[in-house]
Every structure is written in C-alpha cells, then in structure tokens.
C-alpha cells in the first residue's frame, strides 16, 4: 500500500516559542531589617544572634514535592527521621514558609511556577536543592526539556547530593543550612 519515500519527509524544524524569556533567572532583592536601622551598632550584635538562633531553629519549608525526591522528603518528615525535632514543620502556602525544598526534576514547563513561588515567599528565605535532578539535571541530563539544575533560575543555598538522597542526608542538608544562617546573621536583616 505505501510506496517507500514517494513523498520526501519534510525537514524537522523545532520552534521553541516564547520559552526562552520565561526562564530568566531571578535577581535577589537586598533585604533591610527595621531594627538594623533603629538600634545602635553595639546592640545590633546580640539582636542578630538571638534572631539568627530563632530563625535557625524554626525553618518552615513549603510542602512542594516534584518527583521521587519528594517521597524521601516526606520520609524525612515522618516518624523514623522526624524533622519536627528541629522545629521544621511543612507549610502549604508560600507566604508562611521561609525555605523552599526543590525535591525532584525541574522541567522547563515547571520552571516559571517555581520562580513564582520563590517570589511569593517573604524575605529571609532559603532554597535547598535536593537530589541530583535539582542540582544539575541528574540522570536526565541529555533531554532538552529538563532544566539542568534549579540554580539557573533561583539562587540556591544548600545542595543535597543523592538520587534520591536518604532522609538522613536531607537532615544533614538542613543542619548545613542552620550553620549557614548562623554565619550570615549579620548580613540578613
């Protein structure tokens, strides 16, 4: 019924539409705390320490699972590796959470949504890029629909290796984030 190559196959011209400008990276606005402007310098240091300790011990991540790493993230919240011990409670709305765990593969269709969520979060905010997919595309590095790493669109604080990383390594990531908060206590308002 079909004569081979009677009709030449039309050459394949991919057209990517308006995707390039949807994936612009976000530049971080410089936060400025009220008490930094009001209190004299000598009283700012203890205030920084107290606030950093309180910020460190109550990180509220957002319940936002992308792929297989989300299952390990849930595992970290459950009874065997309880993240609640560190005061880490998952919150559903970006307004109330101050840490965004990118747990899974970031595709180019999902990237604008992640940018939007990151912008909606109030300011002293942190990003944990969990798993190889979020860090640099993981096992899917050769497919062009997958964003090779979430740090191409939002600034990332802690990278957790593993595919999927064990709950213990996620907890280690949180501890590393807590140390980072203590180090940065002077800069972040």
């Amino acid at each position: 019924m079909t004569q081979p190559n009677a009709h030449p196959v039309p050459p394949y011209k991919p057209d990517f539409g308006a995707e390039a400008d949807r994936l612009r990276p976000i530049d971080l606005p410089k936060p400025r705390a009220a008490y930094k402007m009001v209190l004299p310098g000598v009283m700012q240091v203890p205030a920084d320490t107290i606030l950093a300790i309180s910020r460190k011990s109550s990180i509220w991540p957002m319940t936002f699972g992308l792929a297989c790493c989300a299952i390990e993230m849930m595992g970290a919240f459950m009874s065997n590796h309880d993240l609640d011990r560190f005061g880490i409670v998952p919150f559903a709305s970006p307004r109330q959470s101050d840490c965004l765990i990118i747990s899974g593969t970031v595709t180019k269709k999902m990237a604008p949504a992640i940018k939007l969520i990151y912008e909606q979060m109030p300011n002293p905010k942190y990003v944990i890029s969990m798993g190889a997919c979020a860090t640099n595309g993981g096992p899917y590095t050769e497919y062009d629909r997958v964003l090779q790493g979430v740090d191409k669109i939002i600034p990332v604080d802690v990278y957790v290796p593993g595919c999927p990383p064990r709950p213990e390594s996620l907890i280690d990531g949180f501890i590393r984030l807590q140390e980072k908060i203590m180090e940065e206590k002077r800069m972040v308002g």
Binding site: S54, D84, F86, G87, A92, P122
Partner: protein, 377 residues
C-alpha cells in the same frame, strides 16, 4: 456583690488595668505554650517526637517561632485592598480578648464580673466572624475568598445551637452571671443535668474554633490555607494567636458553664489556689480532647456540615430547651432533667456510633476465585 465596688472610682480604673494586664500576660504565655503543646501532642499521636532541639525538650520552640515571625518581611499582595487586609487580624483578635474580661478563674479572680456575663460572651465571640470575612474577602485571593465564605456560613449556622444549649443551662441556673452559675454547681456540675446540652455545646464550639472535623475554612489539603493564605509574618501569627487564645477562652468558658469551673469538687470552701488549679486543669483537659480529635478525625464536607447543624443539632437543642421549660415551670424534680437530657445525648451519640460499627468490607474476600472467562461481565 461584685468585687470592684468598695474602691473609690480612681482606684477602680487602676485595678481594672492591672487585672487586664495580668490576664493578657497569662493568655500570651498560655497561647505560646499551646502552639508548642499542640505540636508535641500531635507528634505523640503520630508516633514521633515533637520539637526537641530548641531548648530542653523543645521548650523554647514557641519563642523561636515568635521571634522568627516577627522578623519576616511584611508582604501585602498588590490586589488586596489595603485597610481591610491589615485590620482583619486585629478584628479577629479583639473579641477574644474582650471575652477574657468576664471569665471567672477563681472566686474573685475575674477582671470584672458582669451580671449578664454569658450574654456578653455570646456577643463578643460572634464578632470574630467579621474579622475572618475581612481576611477572606480582603486578601484578593480565590482560595481566601472560598475560605472566608465557608467560615462565615459555618460559624453563623453553628452559633444557634451553641446559644440555645447555653440558654438551657442558664434556665436551670436562673441567671446569666457566670459567678452565680459556678456557685450553683457546688454539689452537681451542670453536665450531669444537661448531658445533651454539653454534647451540642462541644460540637458547636469545635466549629466555632474551625478545628477538627469542622476545619473546612482552613482546610490544609483543599484550599491551601483558607483565609490565612495571603498572610505572612506577624499578621499570620496574629491569626494563630487568635486561634489558640479563642481555644483557651472557649475551654475556660465551657468548663465554667458545664464542668463547674472553680466550684465543683469542694472548690467553694477551699482557698483560691485550689480554685485556680481546678480551672486550669479543666481547661487543659478540654484542650487536650480538642487536640486529640484534631489528630484523628477527618474533615466534613460543607454540605454534610450544614445538614448536621440544621437537621440534627438545632432540633435537638430546641427539644432540650422545651423539656427544660416544662420541668422548671411545673417544678418537677431535677432528676427528670438528667433523664430527658441523657436520653437525647444517648440518641445523638448512639446514632453516630451505630453508623460507624458496621464497617464496609469488600465482599470478595470471602468468595472463591473464578477464572475471568467464567466471571460475569
């Protein structure tokens, strides 16, 4: 005899201010440790440890949360209209603080004892719907709109059985003054006389707090945060403060009206220390049961919730009111009060338990397996 009359008028003002400050401090302390207590209690329900790392056994967790929320960036969404959005948290919080004025913690330990104490409590707690609606409609977010409307529908419709069940208690005590009601429960708490009233009050109070089975305005899994979805930092913590403060205020009010407050087991003749202990013990037991229910019971759908209120709670509370009227007017013995009310309570709880008893099962576990060709289409 209210306890403010013998002081000249200047001192009365100072006295009130001091009492209000004490009550406010006690409330803040209790609310902070309620957030911590709830997380610990729910963690225990779910076989895990609650916050442990901030302070010994996580005791400083509440303080850490508060400080962190204080220093969050103050976000206000562009499409939210400014003043309604900013005043909403305070509009929900003020009624709760107003209620604390009349609650008697011990014989003379309330801020001011009003002769219309119970009526004042209804009025004040009816106000926080206004704040929730302002939050829902003001924050310009579809989820918040849905949450706000759901909250309004639920809280208004559940207030009626709540008020009627409290009126039936007031009929027995023949007065609306909370102190008088508590003193009358010297020998028997009113829960013995009015078990049905207690059950209706507890259910309606749960929906006033929008917790446990009635938490559709703040439904986590459906409309992300209900009316609190757009709030962040200090404003959101005001909503949390309101929620826990009203939970504590309701539990103290409930224990005063139904469980005898500071009076019931010999509270009258022992000193005020024992009375304070009684009030706090009963309110914390009440809160523990509310948290327990929150941990286990799933959420009702909005139409089930409405039909449960209008078709079950309201008629029962009206029947309760009628029976009280007959018994008190004709002067029948008090035991009859207990009998009729117990029948009502048994009917309501039995109706729910019976439906839960016959567990749905898949029929196929019993049957033997048949090959697909032979199986019915």
């Amino acid at each position: 005899m209210s306890f403010g009359d013998h002081i000249p008028w200047l001192w009365a003002w100072v006295d009130v201010v001091v009492r209000v400050v004490i009550v406010a401090l006690v409330m803040t302390l209790i609310v902070m440790y309620l957030t911590y207590g709830e997380r610990k209690f729910l963690a225990r329900l779910q076989m895990r440890l609650g916050p442990m790392r901030t302070g010994p056994w996580g005791l400083l967790q509440a303080i850490a949360d508060t400080f962190k929320l204080l220093t969050k960036e103050d976000l206000r969404p562009a499409q939210a209209d400014r003043w309604v959005f900013e005043i909403a948290p305070y509009a929900t919080f003020v009624p709760v603080l107003m209620v604390l004025v009349t609650l008697p913690f011990a014989r003379d330990w309330g801020v001011r004892n009003l002769s219309l104490g119970m009526f004042y409590v209804f009025a004040a707690l009816g106000l926080n719907i206004v704040g929730i609606l302002m939050a829902g409609l003001g924050s310009g977010n579809k989820y918040a709109l849905l949450g706000g409307l759901r909250a309004a529908a639920q809280m208004i419709s559940y207030e009626i059985p709540l008020v009627i069940s409290l009126i039936s208690v007031a009929m027995i005590a023949q007065s609306l003054d909370l102190n008088v009601i508590t003193e009358l429960q010297h020998r028997r708490p009113f829960v013995v006389l009015q078990p049905l009233g207690f059950v209706i009050f507890f259910t309606a109070m749960l929906s006033e707090l929008h917790r446990a089975p009635f938490d559709i305005p703040v439904a986590e899994s459906e409309i992300v945060g209900g009316f609190t979805v757009e709030y962040s930092g200090i404003r959101w913590s005001m909503f949390q403060l309101t929620e826990y403060a009203s939970m504590w205020a309701w539990s103290v009010f409930g224990s005063v009206v139904f469980l005898g407050g500071w009076e019931w087991p010999w509270g009258g003749d022992v000193g005020w220390g024992y009375q304070l202990f009684l009030t706090f013990l009963k309110s914390f037991l009440w809160i523990a049961s509310v948290l327990w229910i929150r941990g286990t019971v799933p959420r009702l759908r909005i139409d089930q919730l409405m039909s449960f209120c209008w078709k079950v709670l309201l008629p029962l509370s009206l029947v309760q009111l009628l029976m009280n009227g007959f018994i008190i007017v004709y002067g029948w013995p008090q035991e009859l009060l207990f009998a009729t009310s117990a029948v009502g309570a048994a009917g309501l709880i039995g109706f729910i338990v019976m439906r839960g008893l016959h567990r749905p099962k898949t029929p196929s576990l019993v049957g033997t397996y048949k090959q697909p060709q032979g199986s019915s289409a």
